[in-house]
């Protein structure tokens, strides 16, 4: 008999299965490491030490995690409405413009906590704006959002490079980037938070936007499971035909979902631009938007899951940097491989193990 429609308890569906998938992904990553002639265990050791071993390491880990929480939420919100937003990367990039403009405009005159709301708004609005056209095309014209968002990633990159190279660059400087923000344009580090745990943050750019990210997690949770809009998004996401029956307005819901998704992606810039670099740089997103896909898939599109997944990837990114430093034969791109494998196993192959697990479960259930 087929096992597809046999119900499983949540702790299996949302706990055990993702965990096993994750382990599979790591197993294959280990194979790659072994293939290029290094010891997976050694690698793992460096990875953990490098990401959790010291205060600043943890700081970096959480810094990366912050970015991934934003992009993960971004992907998840769209996902709940049945939309696959691959454009978080570009939306975050353009969002950076909003965040930077706010900082550049205000940092001379006001302290950071005055600038912050404007930076948040700027990032969100620019990010959302970048998601709008794909959303509109999907809703009105039915052009596939996956393709359009990918295209907008490229267009966004071109736009930002143009602005940075020709408009925002500091004359005479080599690198295409804005001037460094003053205190008033930056988001302060969370040394005190680390201090609470007796850790020294050191140079790690772990900053206030982490708290903003947590707030966003709560808001997203509210939106999806506690609001009427969220209910409509989920209905549309699971069963478009039922959504029509229920009178869920398709165009409006799709566009709003994507705007929220884009806004969340945009806010990732707070962490990288206002928090860390204190300037807008070319390619500052550095793939965080794509990591969001893996994070959201791993976290089953639930804020709590996303936080955990984001921290996991934070560990990968920070630990990976250290790893590649200790084992020069393993470049940091190893992370991209792992990321791909996680998406493969936690996403595309999520059902691979289900039949087997269902049988085992039924055995145990009977016994």
């Amino acid at each position: 008999m087929t096992t597809a429609s046999v119900p499983l308890p949540n702790w299996i569906s949302y706990g055990l299965i993702p965990l096993i998938n994750l382990l599979l992904a790591f197993f294959f990553s280990g194979l790659v490491v072994w293939w290029i002639g290094e010891s997976p265990w050694e690698a793992l050791k460096f990875l953990i030490q490098g990401s959790l071993g010291r205060g600043d390491a943890i700081g970096f880990t959480l810094f990366y995690a912050t970015s991934f929480i934003f992009t993960g939420l971004s992907v998840a919100v769209a996902f709940h409405a049945g939309l696959f937003n691959i454009g978080s990367e570009g939306q975050a990039y353009v969002g950076g413009l909003g965040a930077a403009l706010a900082a550049l405009a205000l940092d001379h005159y006001v302290p950071w906590y005055v600038t912050m709301p404007f930076a948040v708004a700027g990032a969100a609005i620019f990010g959302a704006a970048w998601a709008f056209i794909p959303a509109w095309l999907q809703a009105k014209r039915g052009s596939h959002i996956v393709i359009t968002t990918i295209m907008f990633n490229f267009i966004g990159a071109a736009l930002m490079v143009y602005l940075l190279v020709n408009v925002l660059i500091v004359p005479g400087k080599m690198a295409p980037e804005t001037r460094t923000f003053l205190e008033g344009g930056q988001l302060p580090k969370l040394d005190w938070l680390m201090a609470l745990f007796g850790l020294k943050l050191g140079p790690a750019p772990f900053n206030v936007s982490f708290l903003i990210a947590l707030v966003m997690c709560y808001l997203v949770w509210l939106l999806i499971w506690r609001t009427k809009l969220g209910y409509e998004m989920r209905t549309l996401g699971i069963s478009p035909s039922a959504a029509i029956y229920a009178g869920v307005p398709y165009v409006r819901t799709v566009i709003i979902a994507m705007l929220i998704s884009g806004a969340l992606a945009g806010m990732m810039a707070l962490n990288a631009v206002n928090g860390a670099a204190a300037r807008l740089q070319v390619e500052f997103v550095a793939g965080a938007g794509f990591v969001g896909i893996a994070v959201s898939l791993m976290g089953r599109s639930h804020p709590v899951g996303i936080i955990l997944a984001a921290i996991l990837f934070g560990i990968l990114y920070q630990g990976g940097a250290d790893l590649s430093f200790e084992m020069p034969t393993i470049t940091r791109d190893m992370i991209v491989v792992i990321q791909g494998l996680v998406i493969l196993f936690a996403g595309a192959l999520e059902h691979m193990l289900r039949p087997a697990i269902v049988r085992v479960y039924q055995q145990i259930a009977r016994a």
Binding site: T2, K228, Y231, R234, Y245, G247
Partner: protein, 507 residues
């Protein structure tokens, strides 16, 4: 025609068993069918008929059991094997490639050679021969999606014959046919029988069973409950076997006290995606305190009419006036606000979100109602409380508002929908196939609720393909044929008369 019992049966099914996850669709089925006969299979929706046939055709694999073709046990691993064993099937939902030509569809799988060029010409010749022989005209170069359903079904039959089938399975072939087409089909089947081919005919229409089959089997909830020689049984007996007890589907109900008109439809025309007119300039009224039933063979536009009134499908032209207010421009949600409730035909794809928990479905379509939460937020406690009340009142089992809807049985799923829509106490209730795939207990329960709604002075519009249901519930009956309303009758009207009207013959 040989009904000699000593002869080896063409088909023997021994202990066939099949489950789809929680659904036990076929339970230890045994069946013999003699060569050169037409064998009917009847049963409620969801009884397991299609599943059984799909197993015989190798589309599904049985979990247990054996299949013997003219005595020889064979393993039918896939349709290839079935075809090789001389079995052909016309599926309930056609299996045609819509943007291919008739010829391409017929050739698919039996192209006769790596390259299409010459073999196509051979196929064309053969196809034309078959068309002549059985009088199944279709244009070999016609594109499927541009053909009427009847023609598409002919293509399905030609496909089977082209593959040299000796055993032909037809799963509810007449559901989509006009009576004329149906008669034509039966003539074809008779010709095939003369040639010694064995035919299995699945249908809901006892009339057809009596008209054409030599023997008939009845399925109920996955089991094969009886097999009879058609000559030796009666419609009443079959009906009783089907639902498992003596059917007096006539629910006792008092006189209707019609009030003011709550729904009036004026010159409504609805076209489907392909631009084919499904509802053709229809006008009628439904008054408070009456049940108006719309009878008709499936596919004569009732579904489209219902969806147009519900605001799910855009009318092409005409007016829909609800409680004195034109609503053609409004979407489903707005119409609900005006007091419309809608029990849709398809609970799995419209009425419910199977992945949701029960309580979430209990507000589907009404989630914006302030009673379920102020402002932008949902008040989960209020919603669950409300859901539990309905569960109690409608005896939905298991009584658990936190259970995934997909894990309720169909009948209970249907009760969830009925409870949600009727408990709104709407001004106007429109109902489609309220008891499809629902067991008898649930059927009576749902019927009673619908009548109570009427007696509470609501207007009810009922669409069903089950004549008995229509007759026992409706105060007035409108008969729909080919998108038109061909006549109006009272609930007491004889089945035969209605049947003729549904066939588009008499008015």
């Amino acid at each position: 025609m040989s009904l000699d019992p000593s002869a080896v049966p063409a088909i023997e099914l021994v202990g066939i068993d099949k489950s789809f996850g929680p659904v036990h669709a076929n339970k230890n089925i045994n069946l013999n069918i003699a060569k050169g006969t037409i064998h009917g299979i009847i049963g409620e929706n969801g009884a397991g008929k299609s599943t059984l046939m799909s197993i015989l055709y190798g589309f599904y694999q049985a979990d247990q059991g054996e299949i013997r073709i003219s005595g020889k046990p064979i393993l039918i691993r896939d349709s290839q094997a079935a075809i090789a064993a001389g079995i052909g099937m016309v599926h309930q939902h056609f299996m045609l490639v819509e943007n291919f030509t008739v010829l391409e569809n017929v050739m698919l799988g039996v192209e006769g050679g790596q390259f299409l060029g010459r073999s196509a010409d051979k196929a064309r010749a053969e196809l034309e021969r078959l068309e002549k022989e059985y009088g199944l005209e279709v244009d070999p170069d016609g594109i499927i999606e541009e053909l009427p359903v009847g023609a598409q079904q002919r293509v399905e039959i030609l496909k089977a014959l082209y593959r040299g089938a000796d055993i032909l399975i037809l799963d509810e072939p007449t559901g989509v046919l006009t009576p004329a087409e149906a008669d034509h089909l039966f003539n074809v089947l008779r010709v095939l029988r003369e040639q010694g081919k064995t035919i299995i005919l699945i249908t809901h229409k006892l009339r057809e069973i009596m008209a054409i089959t030599d023997s008939v089997s009845v399925m109920r909830r996955g089991e094969m409950v009886a097999t009879r020689k058609t000559a030796e049984t009666t419609v009443e007996e079959l009906a009783e076997l089907m639902v498992g007890r003596h059917v007096l589907l006539h629910v006792e109900k008092g006189e209707a006290r019609p009030g003011p008109v709550l729904l009036s439809v004026r010159n409504l025309t609805v076209k489907d995606a392909r631009g084919v007119t499904m509802v053709d300039n229809v006008s009628f009224d439904v008054r408070a305190g009456e049940i108006v039933g719309i009878a008709g063979v499936a596919g004569n536009g009732q579904s489209e009419l219902l969806e147009a009134i519900a605001g799910i499908r855009k009318p092409f032209s005409g007016e829909i006036i609800m409680d004195g207010q034109p609503v053609a421009g409004l979407d489903a949600a707005r119409r609900r606000d005006l007091g419309l409730a809608h029990i849709p035909e398809d609970r799995h794809h419209m009425g419910l979100v199977l992945k949701f928990e029960e309580y979430e479905n209990s507000i589907l379509g009404y989630h914006r109602d302030p009673k379920y939460g102020r402002g932008a937020f949902l008040d989960l406690n209020a919603i669950r409380k409300d859901a539990e009340d309905k569960i109690a009142k409608y005896d939905i089992r298991p009584p658990n508002a936190r259970l995934r809807t997909a894990n309720f049985s169909g009948g209970n799923q249907q009760k969830i929908v009925v409870a949600r829509e009727i408990e709104r106490d709407p001004k106007l209730l429109i109902v489609g196939q309220p008891t499809r795939g629902v067991d008898v207990g649930a059927i009576e329960f749902i019927h009673r609720r619908i009548i109570e709604t009427r007696d509470a002075g609501k207007a009810v519009l009922l669409v069903s393909v089950e004549l008995d249901e229509i007759r026992s519930l409706s105060d007035r009956i409108l008969v729909m044929f080919a998108g038109r309303i061909v006549g109006e009758k009272t609930g007491e009207t004889e089945e035969q008369t209605l049947g003729l009207m549904m066939a588009g013959i008499a008015a």
